[in-house]
Structures are given as C-alpha cells and as structure tokens.
C-alpha cells in the first residue's frame, strides 16, 4: 500500500500516523493493514473518571434539601468538565483508534447532553461499547439510557399524555431521515415508547402502569408494539441502512456523496446492521482512495487537537482552558449545540474559528511564536512583535517535543510536509515557505501546522 494511501486511511479512520509506523506498514498490503486497524479496536476500554463522591450517593441524600441538591448538581457539572478532558486525552492516546473515531461519530449521531455525571459517563461508554457492534442493539440500548430518556422527554411520555420528542428524533435523526415516515407514524410510535423510566442508579425501568398497550398502526402494520418492537420494524426498512451509510460516507469519505458507493455500502450493512463489516468494506474499496477525496475534508476541532497531539504529545493542565479552546474552535465535547449535533464541514469555519485554528498550534507548542526567519538571517525580524506580546495568553499545556524529535529524527526537513499535511501546499504559500530559513525542524513543524492546509485531512 502506498504511503499516501496509508496516511489517508489513518487520517480518516484515526487521527494521523507516526513516521515509523508509516514506514513499517508501507511494505504491507491493503487488506492486511485495514484488518489490523480493525483488530486493534476489538477491545473495549471504558472512559472512567473518579466519581467517588457520587458512587455511594443515595437518592435521599441527593435530594435531602434544595440546597444540597443544587450543590451536588454543581459538583456534577464540574466532573462533566473533567470527563471532557479525559475524553480528549483518550482520543489522542488510545490504542483503539477506530473505536474512538466511531465513538465521536456516534456522539454526534446520538447527540445528547446531561448534567448528571454518572448518567452521561454511562452514556458515553454505551456509545463506545456499541461503536463497532450491531446498530439495532445500539439503538435499543440508547433508547434506554437515562441521559437520552431525560434529553428527549421520554419520562414525560405516558399513556394518555403523549410527548412526541423521542419518537420524532428516533425517525428523523437516528434511523430513517426526514420525510421517510408520516406524522401518523410518529403519533403511533409515541404510544409504543410509553413507560420508559430509570432508577437513581441509572438502570432502565419499564413502568407498566404508564405504558400504553393499545394497538398501534405503524408503517401499515398493527400490533401491541412496545419500543423494542418498533425498532425492529424500523430496521426492516432498507432506508435505515441507507441513512446510516450516507452519514458514514460523509464522515469518512467526502461531504459530496456518491449514490452508487453508498448503495454498495448499504448492501453490506443491510439487513444485519453490523457496523464493523461496513467499515471494513469502505476502507477496502479503491474509491475510498480516490485522489479527489484525499486531503479534501476539513478537520473537526477535535480532530485538529488530536492531530497536533499525535505529532507533539500535549498534556492539558487546566480543564477550564481546554474547554475554552474547544469553545473558541466551536466544538465542546459533551456540550452539543442540540439534538441535531454539529453540522461539520465548512460550518466549522468562521472568522473567529479560523484565526483560532491558525494560532492554536503555536499557542500550544511554541509560546505563540511562528518563526519568520528568512534564509541567511540570523535573527527573526519580527522579534519585536513578539516582545510586545509577552505575558498574553499563556498555554496551560505542556508539549512533549522529545517525542517529536525522536519520531522525526530520520526524516529530512524538506520532507516534513509529506508527513504533516494531507493536501499539497498552495503554490504561493510554498514559494513563501521556500524563502524561509530551514534550519530547525521544530520551527518548520510549527509553520506547517499554522497553515490552512493543516486544517485538511
């Protein structure tokens, strides 16, 4: 497999690749590389932070007084921020890279938010557990998660008091896509999803007394359906497989869809809905490596952060700052904009996020400095600009340049763009870079990471 193709695979299925691994893999065939990549993600390692204070908490203690309740909620909100940090760390350091990449995908598919740490941590691990598994089981599990039950008002959906929120999103956002069902279907499906509840520990409870056991008429069929029955009915429709494959294609291949390729994927996914085989299929196709796809996708903020960290390992010391970086980039994990999630693609980019992206690598790894030293120059002409800026915006993160030095020691400085960028550098920018001094790999690395080209994967 060519190095270019391996890099493409690893930038889409993961967050980039180190030079030594790239070298090692370049002698192998595509089938081998793809199946190794999938095998590495067989293991499931949950994301768990220290929640000691909540682990032994009882419902009565939690709700003892209004004041105590509020205090716990505040503590819980702080722990969710810690969970965010731990997640970012896991994304950048996990061995199960495809599982993490898919967990991110599903977190944006089953977009959800909660302020109770135990439930949202459980939710996050459910996403991770099913990330490569069976999609039908996955949807059933999600419908029984406390965070989702709260987020889409399933608890309020009782016999005689319908709340359509969950039923609508189940069809529109989770399985079939808009305009593939009728308003009648939603009303009937709402009846089936009554009686859903959970206990304080977060276990699903089915409350018979709230359940509507009437006949339901869904997709031209009728029965005393409950929630799981409905999911079975939805999954009989090939449209469900098509909807998910379209989303996978946009995420892994290209925003501009190719109907034929999506149909091929759909045929693999339907009717068993196994996630891993459809990914295996996609990564194995020649069209996946079409030059038009390579380096043509705008990285999400998290992909950008993880990519920097892949090259120069980062440790964030301040959770607040890490969150504020994500806010400025427009993607705070665990805080999605709404149930539709982040739109992705060009919508990541506006004036503010663009400047933040361009300045982020230097902010994190080189005290905000990007060298402009020209060939033959001894000193940076713009030293003065930086002198005026001392003390501004100090990054509370440490960057491990040792790892970079070691990984890139055998790489010729002129070859750095081949490792750091997925798309060719614009000619004018290249001319400018060529006028600069190329003595320091470190300086050059920061220069490359500070380009629009680095935003692409």
């Amino acid at each position: 497999m060519t190095k270019n193709h391996i890099q493409h695979l690893y930038s889409r299925a993961g967050f980039g690749i180190q030079p030594n691994l790239l070298e090692e893999l370049s002698t192998k065939r595509r089938e081998e590389i793809v199946s190794d990549l999938l095998n590495q993600s067989k293991n499931f390692n949950p994301l768990l932070i220290n929640t000691a204070e909540f682990d032994t908490l009882t419902f009565n203690e939690f709700n003892k007084t209004n004041k105590i309740h509020r205090a716990y909620i505040e503590k819980s909100k702080l722990l969710i921020k810690e969970l965010n940090r731990a997640w970012i760390h896991k994304i950048s350091n996990s061995k199960e890279i495809l599982r993490e990449k898919m967990t991110l995908f599903w977190a944006n598919h089953f977009s959800c938010q909660d302020r109770f740490i135990l439930y949202i941590q459980k939710y996050n691990n459910t996403l991770r557990y099913y990330a490569l598994g069976n999609f039908k089981d996955f949807v059933k599990a999600i419908s029984k998660e406390p965070s989702m039950i709260t987020y889409l008002d399933l608890k309020q959906n009782k016999k005689g008091k319908p709340n359509e929120n969950f039923a609508r999103e189940l069809l529109e956002l989770f399985t079939l896509g808009v305009s593939n069902y009728s308003e009648e279907d939603i009303k009937e499906i709402t009846k089936a999803f009554t009686g859903y509840d959970y206990d304080f520990e977060g276990n699903f409870i089915f409350k018979e007394e709230n359940h509507n056991d009437d006949f339901k008429y869904v997709f031209g069929k009728a029965g005393h359906y409950d929630g799981d029955d409905i999911i079975d009915l939805i999954f009989e429709k090939k449209q469900c497989a098509r909807f998910i494959c379209t989303k996978l294609y946009r995420y892994f291949v290209n925003d501009a869809i190719n109907e034929d390729h999506i149909e091929e994927m759909t045929n693999v996914f339907f009717p068993n809905y196994q996630i891993e085989p459809v990914l295996l299929f996609m990564f194995s196709q020649d069209w996946f490596y079409n030059p038009g796809h390579i380096g043509n996708k705008i990285k999400s903020p998290v992909e950008l952060l993880a990519g920097i960290s892949q090259t120069i390992p980062l440790t964030f010391k301040d959770t607040k700052q890490l969150l504020s970086i994500q806010r400025m980039l427009g993607q705070m994990l665990l805080y999605p904009p709404n149930v539709a999630g982040w739109k992705g693609g060009k919508s990541w980019i506006d004036s503010n996020t663009m400047m933040t992206r361009l300045k982020l690598p230097s902010f994190l790894v080189s005290d905000g400095k990007i060298s402009t030293k020209e060939k033959g120059e001894f000193h940076d002409t713009y030293k003065k600009y930086y002198e005026n800026r001392k003390g501004e915006n100090v990054a509370k993160a440490s960057a491990n340049w040792e790892v970079f030095n070691k990984n890139y020691q055998n790489i010729d400085i002129e070859a750095l763009p081949n490792y750091l960028l997925q798309c060719p550098i614009n000619q004018n920018t290249k001319d400018y870079l060529n006028s600069l001094s190329k003595k320091s790999k470190r300086d050059y690395c920061v220069q490359l990471m500070s380009l629009p080209e680095y935003q692409m994967c």
């Binding site: 209004n66 043509n296 904009p337 149930v339 506006d350 004036s351 503010n352 713009y382 220069q447 629009p452």
Partner: protein, 411 residues
C-alpha cells in the same frame, strides 16, 4: 453613497490585481465570491434609507416577564405570587393597568418619549422549556419540532449581505443566530484584540503571498478566503472604530461594555447591519427578587447610556433595539420564592422611529393558561422577525424565515 458610485467601485475593484487590491482596500475581498449585483443591491438600499441597524439583545436564562411588566390591577397576579409579586407602590405606573419594575426607570423615560414599543405574549406553538432548545428555536427561527442548523441572521447574510462584518456579535464566540449556511457573521469582543490576532507576522506573510487566481470554491480555497476576509475585516473594523470615543460614561459591567463597543461601531459608521449582545443570569428559580432587580438594572442602565451615546451622534433614529428572552416564567411562583420555566413573554422594541410606541397589545390572561400554567402565546416571534426584516432591513423576510409570516405594525 449613490448606486452609480458603487457600481463604479466594484468594476474598478474587479479590474485591480488581487494582491494590490488586498493591500489597497480593507473591506472588499469577499466581493469576489458574491455576484456583484447582490452586493450593489444591498448598498443601493443604503442610499435610499439611511444606514439602518438592528441591535439584538438576548436576556439569557428566561426573563420573568411578569415581574418586568407587572399587571398590578390583576388580583390573579398577586394570588399566584404571594411573596414575589411586585406591589403597586414599588413599581413604575405606565397606563394604570401595567407597571414597569422599579429598576427600569431609564426605560420609562424612553417610553415617555415614544421610543419604546412593548409587545406582549410573544412565543410560538408547542413551546419548549429547555434553555438550550428554546434558545435554538429563537435563534434559528424554527418551529418547535424542527431542528435548523443555521440562524436567522446567518440566513440574512447568506441571502442579502455576504460580508462577515455585516453581522457582529459582541462576544468571543459566535451564536447560532449569526451562522448561515454559507456565510457566518463575526464575533468581536474587542476590535483591538481581534486586530492583533490577525497581525501575526507569519500569517500576514501567507496572506500577502496569496493570489486571487488560486482561490477556489473547494474547501481549501474556502479556508484561504476566510483567512483573508478575516484579516481585512479585522483591519477595517479596528481602523474605522478607533476614530470614535464614547460620549457617555457606561456602567462598569460586561453587558454595558458590549453596548459601548456596539455604539462605537455604529457611531464610527461601520457598515454593520446587525449587532448581537446578551445579558446572562435570568434563570431565577430561587429567591429571585434581588437577583432579578439587579439584572434588570444592569439592562436598563446599559440601555440608557447606549441610547444617549447614539443620540449624541445622531444615529439613534437609524437604530432599532430588539430585546428578547428564550422564554418567560411560570405565572405561579414556586416554593423557593422563585419561578420556573414558562413560555410566552414580553418583548421590548426600542427605537427613535416607531410607528406604534407604547403597549402594542394587551397582556394575555392570567387565568386562561396552558397545561403547564403558562401564559398562552398570541404573537409568533417570527412575526416580529418578519417585520424587522421587511420594514427595517428591507429584505424579503420569507427568504430568511423559509416561509411567510404576517407583518406587525410597530415600525
């Protein structure tokens, strides 16, 4: 600026070499991506109508409308709110039916001059009581069961004004309201800081070397375009706005700073149509009296200084200030001397050019409530948006709102 001049300028611009152009003009790089007639069109309107600007203020958290505008002759109000109801002697009488919270004295003065229009019972069908969701609905102008990923101001930019600085949020990050399908507004907390971030020597060199012929509609081209636009816009905003200093002393708080910056932008003649500011802390579930009083005072004192600042430069008549909150609060107080999330709410329009100042419509019944015990909505908030878009910004509101809404009569 007359229209022939605009056309002349655009054609000159198009003749110019890209790099020279970037150096010469601070405000026009986005011209290359917009059909020139669209551009010219939006400026022609300018010459006819003066430079109208819209300032949107969000009171985040759900402002308690019933303790902002108080129906003090209504016993139901006092029965529902035995400890937090505002007594007649503590409020500012407007029309012997309704009174303003005592913190809103500056607003009363504007009201007496005919500069305030109060629209009651604004909401939408099947209201959502989650902060996030309700904020989304207001910002995207969606139905309550519809999820849109672009904001109404963003779609205004998409269709009628593709300059990033045409809509500015005075903050560090951009709300959904200002995000379009293809064009986003800008978040500018401080013009100086934004300018400085674009002055990185390396990034400036990259921009300087870039040539027009390489700009494409592909993703990478889009990134370069945004980068160049941002540098130009930041420079334009910084250099234009620095010519003006505030004529007023503003209170020392974040909200007033936002308004001071907005006034600086407006008074310097910055070609921005829409400004977006917000004031947090209205989620008053517990012991709300003092907190609510303080926040309303912050709001009113800020508005007071802002309006005076605009008046000193004769820009107030061309400015319309729209204040909303994502929802109102429950009629009945809760057990913690606060109020829970409600639905329909009162909305304030402030401007020097109102057609129907005063109380626009009667306050809704406090007895005929919805299932949750909230005031029923009478006016869809999108009627307000449609009116502002058509009557104030002079664009086709249905293009922005994806459907037609009836016009109201306040401007």
């Amino acid at each position: 600026m007359c229209s022939t001049y605009v056309f002349a300028r655009i054609s000159n611009v198009l003749k110019m070499d890209r790099r020279k152009f970037i150096k010469n003009s601070s405000l026009a790089s986005s011209l290359f991506f917009v059909p020139s007639f669209v551009k010219a069109f939006s400026d022609v309107i300018t010459s006819k109508t003066g430079y109208k600007r819209l300032v949107i203020i969000q009171l985040s958290g759900g402002n308690d409308g019933l303790n902002t505008l108080i129906p003090f002759r209504n016993d139901v109000y006092y029965k529902a709110r035995p400890t937090i109801g505002i007594k007649k002697e503590n409020l500012i009488n407007l029309n012997n039916e309704l009174g303003l919270h005592s913190s809103l004295l500056p607003l009363k003065k504007l009201y007496d001059q005919g500069y305030v229009s109060i629209i009651n019972n604004v909401g939408y069908p099947n209201p959502n009581r989650s902060h996030f969701r309700a904020t989304d609905i207001w910002q995207t102008a969606s139905h309550s069961n519809q999820y849109l990923q672009s904001g109404w101001i963003g779609r205004y930019l998409d269709n009628f004004n593709q300059n990033p600085y045409a809509a500015i949020e005075i903050d560090v990050s951009l709300s959904l309201a200002l995000k379009g399908e293809v064009q986003n507004g800008m978040a500018v907390k401080s013009p100086n800081t934004l300018y400085k971030t674009t002055q990185d020597p390396y990034l400036k060199k990259v921009v300087e070397h870039y040539e027009e012929s390489h700009l494409s509609e592909h993703n990478l081209g889009y990134l370069y375009k945004t980068m160049i636009d941002t540098e130009n816009s930041a420079k334009y905003i910084f250099e234009t706005s620095k010519t003006v200093t505030p004529s007023q002393n503003y209170p020392n708080n974040g909200f007033s700073k936002q308004l001071r910056t907005t006034a600086q932008f407006i008074n310097s003649g910055l070609k921005t149509r829409v400004f977006y500011a917000s004031l947090n802390g209205f989620d008053t579930h517990v012991n709300q009296m003092n907190v609510h009083k303080r926040h309303l005072k912050t709001y009113a004192d800020g508005i007071d200084a802002f309006v005076k600042d605009l008046q000193s430069k004769n820009t107030f008549n061309d400015t319309l200030i729209l204040t909303f909150s994502e929802f109102g609060r429950r009629v009945k107080q809760n057990r913690g001397n606060g109020t829970d999330h409600g639905s329909a709410n009162t909305l304030f329009i402030i401007g020097g050019n109102l057609k129907k100042p005063g109380v626009y419509n009667e306050m809704g019944s406090l007895e005929d409530l919805d299932d949750n015990g909230d005031v029923k909505f009478e006016i869809d908030f999108r009627n307000v948006y449609a009116t502002v878009l058509k009557q104030w910004l002079h664009v086709e509101d249905n293009v922005v709102l994806n459907q037609s809404f009836n016009q109201l009569d306040f401007i």
